[in-house]
Symmetry: C5
Subunit: 379 residues, 5 copies
């Protein structure tokens, strides 16, 4: 966790400068690459990542021990962060493409331009940053796409003293259970501050890894059965694909663990003493996720060994078949060749039982060979 | 060790909230996966892991320097933690499926909901947590199942000032020696506090790894002999299986070592000064377990190398046989083919000793080949 | 970061001693190797690296909140570092071959001889050094050369209280966006000190890695497609070449990350409090670069596995073809050989349907073999 | 080094409890396994390891600046640790099977039951423990057994203020040089305290690794020559055996290094200031041992690569021979087959020089093939 | 760096004891092994390493800001370390075999017996030791021997307040540039103290690695070209040899880097404040050496992969040739065999165009096969 000292000056949103002629490579619906930002000043708001065409959806939820009001809003205009102790405002934004909206949000809640830049750059490594007046948390979750591919999504959480903003790249039902719990009058969420809400969101997102990992584990098991049955190059490529997905998950969960661990040790005034233990619980969950991923990794490494030795074994089998045929028929063909020769003086040819004796000899040789190969366990 | 600051507020058991519509996937007798908890609030008591159908068994043992009373009880009702200095209460619970029982236990001994959740989630990484008024220790032990497979079991120990609760997933005889020692009037266990009992339990459980590892070592030695004799794909799969079991053991023993080491450095008031040296002794045992496991790992890696090169060697053998046959019979068959030709003018055919001379030539060629191959050590 | 204590004495430029008879190996246009400096005293100014023939180009830019004057100059004569608070002088030098120029620069700005030596030795590991009165930063960037090869370039930045010197090995357009921003009257760069300019340069250069990595990623993807289609030894060598480039990038970016991280934690008076957060932002970018490089590395490792197993598979294919031919034709040729024998008493030869029956038998054997191999999936 | 705090209570030897019905698996002369101790209380004195049948031999040596008395004694009875400053008592015990003797020793010198347990458990990891009134050091040395196998032996050293106890598993001449030096009136050993004697023992034992490693290095060199000459599976198994021995040595020397390093930094009053530098010298020797072992390890890894590629090369050789034979004789046999056909109209058969021309053609083809293969360097 | 506390007592040279009957294995001109010292007391002066027959050469150089006197002396007798501030005495000794000389040196300059032992034991790991009154530095340099093999040499430097002793195993011209600089009246060396001379020596020796590494890099490049052209087992063995040399270099340079880094952070009064920055410069050079070595290592690893896959590829080529021949001639030979049969009723034999038609069929089959194999890219 990179806890910033609190001496960072209150950022003035006007400072968000646009780069001179930002290179525009924004085909709708395609990913803009990180390199598009080279040479731009810090705080340049350019959305890095897959562009989603439909407009952002804003959801405001104000709640306290006694009330909980949810509504969808069109703009952040008029939103005032509630006073300490009365109520908590949770702003949830689906979709990052509306840059003026984010600038408005930045000036309303006093966010540093670099925070806005980090929210938009969807290739952030999970981290938490302690800014003046708020805590910025960014992490990555995964969805199971069609065909089983993993689809990453960056989620940003900005935690203030009485408010919390969460931003997702796409619409999804991941946070519905948290909303459900908020509607419940007896829920601890309603009585606690935004730090506990932040915990609830983090907990839900770390737990979402388990869903992904269950599906992952099943894929590995299926693949293993396939591999034992028939080690095809396709299976090898699938091992490699799964390995890469494991790496993807590892790259997201290790810093996430560090980040959550940092929150559990945090001395930020925004995280109350009694919430700390809950962040530690999330830390334990993250450690379990890592353990599961490491087990997957080890299984996949073992599968590569099995694949390679299985290929070797098959070649061995092929070679044995070839050798058995050659060792069986080469001597016999040679013998047949001998008695196909046209020498004038070949006494065996005129023997009465010559032909039959030769058959006998051939059968004897073949039997001997077969017994030999059976003994060598080649048959 | 994640020593929590003692400022954690006394948890109120009423706070254990049930999640909205917890997804029920509890087929009796099958493992419920960790992902079943996604979206539930922290402290949700859902048993993660293999479900055992028979009901939990509770065993209460109250002992002091002069007395030791053991009895099986049906419910925790009426149990009062003894006062300091008079006696120690040891509650042992076999089976985790009785959630109301655990809730009762939580409220009786003032356990935090997260502790209860950890007890039920049987995929915990070994750890110790210093809570307000008690110390929570969770670890994993292994049983040798039928067919030699390793069966993990999670054991939780909650250590209070005058009481200790231990929870196992299954009934077993592992802790019988400790009970036996308790019945002995001269035992140090009877004179010492619950921290020494905790040490006795931990020591017994770490030592149980040696039993598993002895069996493991024998399996490896047997496998090695098999491998040298005949390197089959089945042997390879067994190497992989043993490798995975080694990983399983490592994943349990490394954090266990950390945890025990943490207890040996602990400044918790629950662990008395004179008990600390005993926890260090357990730490040394854990290090020995790790050394043994690492030796197993190295042996298994070496076996994979032996397997792969053994497969290569066998293919080499096959190839040599093939080559010897081909090199022997191809020239001879060619010669036989020559004299099977029907040219009108082939003087050799009419020679008196042509046929016999050819046999002589063929035998010479064959002998030459055989000597050559013998020199190359192919035969 | 190797923060030097400030007790280093003000270096006297006269002290720059020349080694006794420096071994001259300076063919124009070729790289002089590091070993050329063996035995020379420290501070010996010998340019290590690729020599570029055209002369150095000096660019001076003086700017403040209200003004910005850029001009190209021929010599550093007459340059006076501006006073605190009025304006900032940025001297940019393209080309390191003009050693008298560098000596002049050293005496003008009070640089330690070792700093001058480091500027000239273009095999420096990225680092920052806190000297008396200035901060010396050296790093490496990469250009995409013709044919796709990576061309490294060392960039040195010397940051004073009111001035900044940057030195590149070659002319290039990398820093043009920074100059563009300087010309913009509203830019933060104009209002901030030279430390913010240093940040802007570092940010631009770290971001330039993304451009290189995008091209790199495309090369990897192309290579992967080639590999799946036809695993040639050339593809293998290309994997190795890409691996080496990855290593090259890693060797430059890891210490760069450390160095930038050190600047973000620096307590040098030359880096103002409000600039620190920007250096941390650059640190995050460097971490993203590292993540991308590590992903490339993993992909390349996986490709080697795919290559090797693909070679094995192809050999398997070849072997199968060979075996199928041998197993098909060896028995048939043997049969033909039998009936080519010249025994006097071979009743089959005189049968009316002998020839046709043999054909029938041969076709049956061939069909049997083919079915067998199809079952084994060899065909 | 696990420096215990000195607050450990003076252990009362009566506390050594025997476990309830210790499982007896003590066949004389065979190793008892570590798992035999499962379930026993700490401090249970059971000898773990190879049992040696002959009785223990005790050797007492009292020495000071002016005197040195050596004698063999039957029992420890009557031994009184000498007063500070007069003389030093060195008790050396060969053989660990005499448990009552060890208990007597424990009560005489005030050793903690856990120390006695550690002395008997001969699978200890090298470590040093700072107990109340003495320092316990345990390490492992190796002997060259018959057939070149390494035989480990555990040596325990208990260092008091005026006495030192050393315990070995077997009789041996390893410590004779130390005794010899003690007999020398001018030896530093005679003037220094028991800490310097401890250093002399440790130094001798660390240096004994060099003897083992010299033999080891010779084995590796011999094996390498064998490998280059003929890569047999036996050589592979020998590589694996040497690898395991390297691991064995590493597992002993790494913690030994840590332990000796700990003694060199120790603030125990038992190690005098002027002895500390000598322990550091032993540390340097241990580091040299480690360097030598690591070199062995690298050589062994390289040998596995050589072995595997050598096997591949041999298969390549075999394949080339096969292919040369096939490519040479298949076309020729085909040609012979052609002119063995019985068509009525085959004009070549009737040509006068047909037969000889065919021979000419065949020789031409064979020569062409041989030249081709020679060009390909297959011959 | 193992900075000793200064409380080490002034060593008395008389204490250098000889071991009881030191095992003499000193064949002239051969290496004595480290194990020869087993059982000897610390400080036993036995020369470990290659023995050089010619006698040691001592070179004394006294210099100050205004003077520099060099002379070769026969004995150290009469040498008095100069007073502070007047002049510096540099004693350089080539050859370690003259043990009485070293003992004389030890008593003259007050060196600890362990320092003398370390000087003689030429298998020291590079280190620096802060003794009472002097600093002992030992490192290893490499020479390019005949045939390109690396020859290690240990260099010891003892740095006092006004004197410096350097010891080499062999005569050589490595330090000539330093002597040359000393003769130069304007050199910084002449004005600075012995610490700066120590830096000059260290700098020269670290830079000597670059010379070795340049030759090394050329060897690798040559080998790579050989490998691509023809992957012979000899090339493999050369890869292994280069790998070992890399390891040798690594084992020397890593601790050297640590040692130099330690000197750069040293608080020894013997290293003046203004010299510290120069040691840091040497540290940077050492880091560059390490980078170069690591690059070599990676290249060598990649070459092993290339070698192995190249062997596989060649086998593949061989197999393809074999298969093409078999697939081409087996069917044809079979057909020829058919018409070599002696059935009475074989109508084809009597056809007018039978023979020619068969040739046509055979050519068609062969053409078909060749096209097929060309399509498969086997030809």
């Amino acid at each position: 966790m990179m806890g910033y000292s609190t001496a960072v000056p209150k950022p003035v949103p006007v400072m968000v400068e646009r780069g001179p002629l930002p290179e525009v490579r924004s085909m709708p619906g395609t990913a803009r690459k990180r390199s598009a930002k080279t040479g731009l000043p810090p705080g340049s708001l350019i959305h890095i990542g897959q562009r989603h065409t439909d407009r952002a959806k804003i959801c405001l939820c104000e709640y306290g021990a006694t009330h909980c009001r949810e509504r969808e809003i069109q703009s952040l205009e008029g939103i005032i962060p509630p006073d300490e102790g009365t109520s908590v405002a949770w702003v949830h934004i689906d979709g990052l493409q509306d840059i003026p909206l984010l600038e408005q949000m930045g000036s309303l809640f006093g966010l540093h331009p670099l925070t806005l830049e980090d929210i938009l750059n969807t290739e952030q490594r999970p981290k938490s940053e302690d800014h003046d007046g708020y805590l910025y948390v960014v992490l990555r979750i995964f969805h199971q796409g069609a065909g089983g591919a993993l689809i990453p999504e960056q989620v940003s959480i900005v935690l203030g003293s009485t408010w919390l903003i969460s931003l997702q790249e796409r619409k999804g039902s991941l946070l519905d259970p948290v909303r459900e719990r908020l509607r419940n009058d007896n829920s601890r969420l309603r009585k606690a501050g935004p730090d506990y809400l932040a915990h609830a969101l983090l907990d839900t997102m770390v737990d979402s890894y388990f869903v992904v990992l269950d599906a992952f584990g099943e894929k590995i098991e299926t693949l293993e059965e396939v591999l034992v049955a028939s080690p095809s190059p396709a299976a090898l490529r699938q091992i490699q694909a799964l390995k890469r997905e494991t790496l993807l998950l590892r790259r997201s969960i290790w810093p996430l663990r560090e980040m959550v661990g940092g929150l559990g040790r945090s001395d930020s005034p925004l995280i109350r003493e009694q919430s700390v233990i809950y962040f530690r619980d999330v830390y334990d969950h993250a450690v379990q996720v890592i353990d599961t991923i490491e087990t997957c990794r080890d299984m996949l490494s073992g599968m590569l060994d099995i694949y390679l030795s299985s290929v070797s074994n098959r070649m061995n089998e092929v070679m044995k078949v070839l050798t058995v045929f050659a060792a069986l028929f080469m001597p016999l063909t040679f013998l047949a060749g001998i008695y196909g020769m046209n020498f004038e003086y070949m006494p065996e040819l005129e023997w009465r039982w010559g032909y039959l004796s030769l058959w006998g000899l051939m059968i004897a040789i073949a039997a001997f060979m077969l017994i030999l190969f059976r003994r060598k366990k080649w048959l």
